[in-house]
């Protein structure tokens, strides 16, 4: 099967094009060894299947970030048959910079000149034929959002796959650099380093650290000897090479593109005047988040939630009835109804809420607002000694802290990155949401949106406070520079929002069926052994574990073995907190609802302190693992696990003790 790779800048419409090419036939996974998201899909043309790989959106193919390395390694080592380079026609020079790097790789490139409709509105005229001639590769005009030009793009790409690669570099780096390239190539003769030699030569002259490391470990000795002097030369050549690429782009564009002297997006500017306003920016951001949580609650819980909860309950009872009617052994009935339905079912009840929250987050992302949120937060972040982009990784953490921690890669300095990683767990992830929802339903049913907003806000506040403390103690020094693109505002497409939401919800459901199922099974076994003990009682192994831990939480007001066990399980996965509560309480009070059981076991005050604990304490094992991988250090992973636990405990104790003093 032939493979087509998609590359392009962020915000060039690459994902939309990927969806237009593959339709619903796609799946999301990870690149082997790294945690960058890998999207793959298939389409059929003339009865032949084609594989499409969506590479991460990047401005360049240097070794600047993990995303760039993933993209370039796939192009050079993954042997795609053709690379479709998606170029935003409204921002052609900047986008073509990536194209020049693809040309350097000597791979088969076809340019999809996207957003041609927007270019037309902005009065940008592009002569496709001349552009194609200048670049030396085929150029196809597309409007991915309206599925225009897709058929043609597919046809041309396939035709290109079957053509001989008679490509030659359409530009030179000037006499000096070309001579150096030839010298290096001379040194590389008879070596096999998995990359094309021309490309290695350019990368060495650009001072690309990844390639230096490659040569240091695998290169022949006579090049190793020259690395030091090469690295010194690279300082001089690095920017010259970038300049030569832009020179080439300038020449090509001047012949093929005519546009007004200035392209200004008045619509985006008008919106930005308000959303990035000096004084209004922050309140608007707070209002947007508040509205999202209110709506999540109204739509997800009150409207959709009842149906799902009712459905799961009905299924549980039906299964119970069925198992009893066929005379199943008692342990099986107990395992299925109390373990599986009490535990996993309790988690699944929150699918509608997760769905609604992710939908809103997806809309924020697709409209281009996320970058503005980082912008308006920059002032506060800076005052705290943090980098503005840290806030983006924090917002991503609202979905899940694993990508949140990974999103810190866009931060350049080690100081900024370490702090951003250490504070990310305080951002309340989707898996923690069910915990708050259970407690809100039990004690504060009329103030759901407000409480939820306060919890998320508390998470942000604690994260920022810890960030400030870290920047004054563990990681001193200056923050790196702030530079970020503000993409034009776009109306989010329903399809892409729904697809994004579906991916996330599906992974939540899958986790409920795998990780949570395993945790629940183990907990259920612990809850019914040793044999003869009253199941789910304090006498069971589970009860004993909880009893040992419980005193720790006495000062926080929830020193019961049930609460302790659920927090313990929450370190494996946060969904397991509700699953465990569902199981132990469903077991204690036969047939009663989890919420009713919680009303009996907690008070409004201990519910608050428990929620604060679950918000702040040790993140799940997956996050700890990600911190370990990203910092390449067990020390920092252990540090994260321990210090967050302490912060959570302190937070919960403060809430309980202060609340008690105030008479709650």
């Amino acid at each position: 099967m032939n493979t087509i790779a998609l590359v392009g800048n962020p915000n060039c419409g690459k994902t939309t094009l990927f969806n237009a090419l593959t339709g619903s036939n796609q799946h999301v996974g990870n690149w082997p060894g790294v945690t960058v998201e890998k999207k793959e899909g298939k389409f059929k043309y003339n009865d032949k299947q084609y594989n499409v790989v969506d590479l991460p959106g990047t401005y360049s193919l240097g070794a600047y970030s993990e995303d760039e390395v993933v993209a370039r390694d796939f192009i050079l080592k993954g042997n795609p048959d053709v690379v479709i380079n998606v170029v935003d026609a409204t921002n052609i020079e900047r986008n073509l910079y990536l194209t020049t790097q693809l040309l350097e790789m000597g791979t088969k490139v076809i340019v999809a000149l996207n957003m041609m409709d927007e270019a037309e509105i902005k009065n940008i005229k592009i002569d496709i034929e001349k552009l194609s001639k200048g670049l030396g590769v085929p150029v196809i005009a597309t409007v991915a959002s309206k599925k225009k030009g897709i058929e043609n793009l597919i046809k041309e790409s396939i035709a290109y796959i079957n053509k001989d690669n008679s490509f030659s570099m359409p530009f030179s780096y000037g006499e000096n650099i070309d001579k150096e390239i030839n010298n290096i190539k001379g040194l590389l003769v008879n070596t096999h380093l998995e990359y094309p030699q021309d490309w290695i030569a350019v990368k060495l002259l650009e001072g690309d650290q990844d390639i230096y490391n490659l040569i240091k470990s695998k290169g022949p000795d006579h090049i190793k000897e020259r690395l030091v002097s090469l690295e010194e030369d690279a300082v001089e050549y690095e920017l010259e090479i970038v300049d030569k690429r832009y020179d080439f782009i300038g020449k090509v564009v001047s012949k093929s593109v005519s546009k007004p002297s200035e392209v200004i997006d008045t619509k985006t500017d008008k919106i930005d005047k308000i959303l990035t306003h000096k004084w209004l920016g922050l309140p608007i951001f707070a209002l947007i988040m508040f509205t999202i949580f209110q709506l999540t609650f109204k739509v997800g819980q009150d409207f959709l939630g009842e149906y799902v909860a009712g459905g799961i309950e009905w299924l549980g009872e039906a299964l119970n009835g069925f198992l009893v009617s066929i005379n199943s052994p008692e342990w099986l009935v107990s395992f299925m109804t109390e373990g599986v339905f009490g535990g996993v079912g309790a988690v699944l009840e929150f699918v509608p809420l997760i769905m609604v929250l992710y939908m809103f987050m997806g809309i924020l992302e697709d409209t281009g607002y996320m970058a503005r949120a980082a912008y308006v937060m920059d002032r506060i972040m800076r005052a705290l000694g943090l980098h503005g982009k840290t806030f983006i990784s924090m917002l991503v953490g609202f979905g899940c802290n694993v990508p949140g921690v990974m999103a810190t890669r866009t931060l350049d300095s080690k100081k900024d990155r370490m702090i951003a990683m250490l504070i990310n767990p305080f951002m309340s992830c989707g898996a923690r949401l069910p915990i708050y929802l259970v407690f809100i339903a039990a004690f504060f049913p009329n103030k759901g949106g407000l409480i939820l907003f306060s919890i998320y806000f508390l998470g942000i506040a604690v994260a920022l406070l810890m960030g400030k403390i870290f920047s004054k103690t563990l990681f001193k020094g200056e923050s790196s520079y702030f530079v970020m693109e503000l993409p034009p505002y776009r109306f989010p497409s329903l399809k892409s929002v729904l697809r994004n939401m579906w991916d996330k919800v599906w992974s939540f459901v899958r986790r409920a069926g795998t990780t949570i199922f395993v945790v629940v099974t183990i907990l259920w076994i612990l809850a019914v052994i040793p044999f003869g003990v009253e199941p789910y009682s304090q006498g069971s192994v589970l009860g004993k574990i909880g009893t040992i831990i419980a005193p720790i939480f006495k000062p926080a007001g929830f020193g019961t073995w049930e609460a302790s066990v659920s927090l313990f399980a929450g370190i494996v996965a946060k969904e397991a907190v509700v699953a465990t509560l569902g199981m132990v309480y469903a077991g204690v009070e036969e047939g009663s609802q989890l919420i009713a059981a919680i009303q009996g076991a907690f008070t409004p005050l201990t519910a608050m302190s428990f929620m604060v604990m679950t918000l702040l304490y040790t993140p799940c094992a997956a996050v700890i693992g990600t911190v370990k991988r990203e910092t390449n250090s067990t020390k920092w992973a252990v540090f994260t696990a321990v210090y967050t636990f302490l912060i959570g405990w302190i937070g919960a104790v403060i809430v309980f003790q202060v609340g008690k003093l105030l008479g709650f």
Binding site: E93, D243, I264, K278, Y375, F482, M484, E485, L486
Partner: protein
């Protein structure tokens, strides 16, 4: 023609990038994001917080510290 740091460019004013002072890695990054030598820029917002400007069709937010290191010809 005068050369001034980007930070002194008022809202609505335009100019060309002449030079970027500072470490190589940040210069290269800015080049790659379209802010290369000779690129035309127009200031959109310059009050508090990062400055916002247009360059070759995209809108960029740059920290004030960075905006002091970008020399503009206007």
């Amino acid at each position: 023609m005068t050369t001034i740091p980007l930070i002194f460019l008022n809202c609505g004013e335009a100019g060309k990038v002449k030079e970027i002072l500072g470490g190589d890695s940040i210069i290269k990054r800015l080049f790659e994001m379209g802010l290369n030598t000779g690129a035309e820029v127009r200031m959109v917002k310059n009050d508090s917080g990062p400055v916002i400007l247009y360059t070759s069709g995209s809108k960029l937010a740059l920290g004030r510290g960075l905006a002091q290191k970008i020399m503009i010809e206007k």
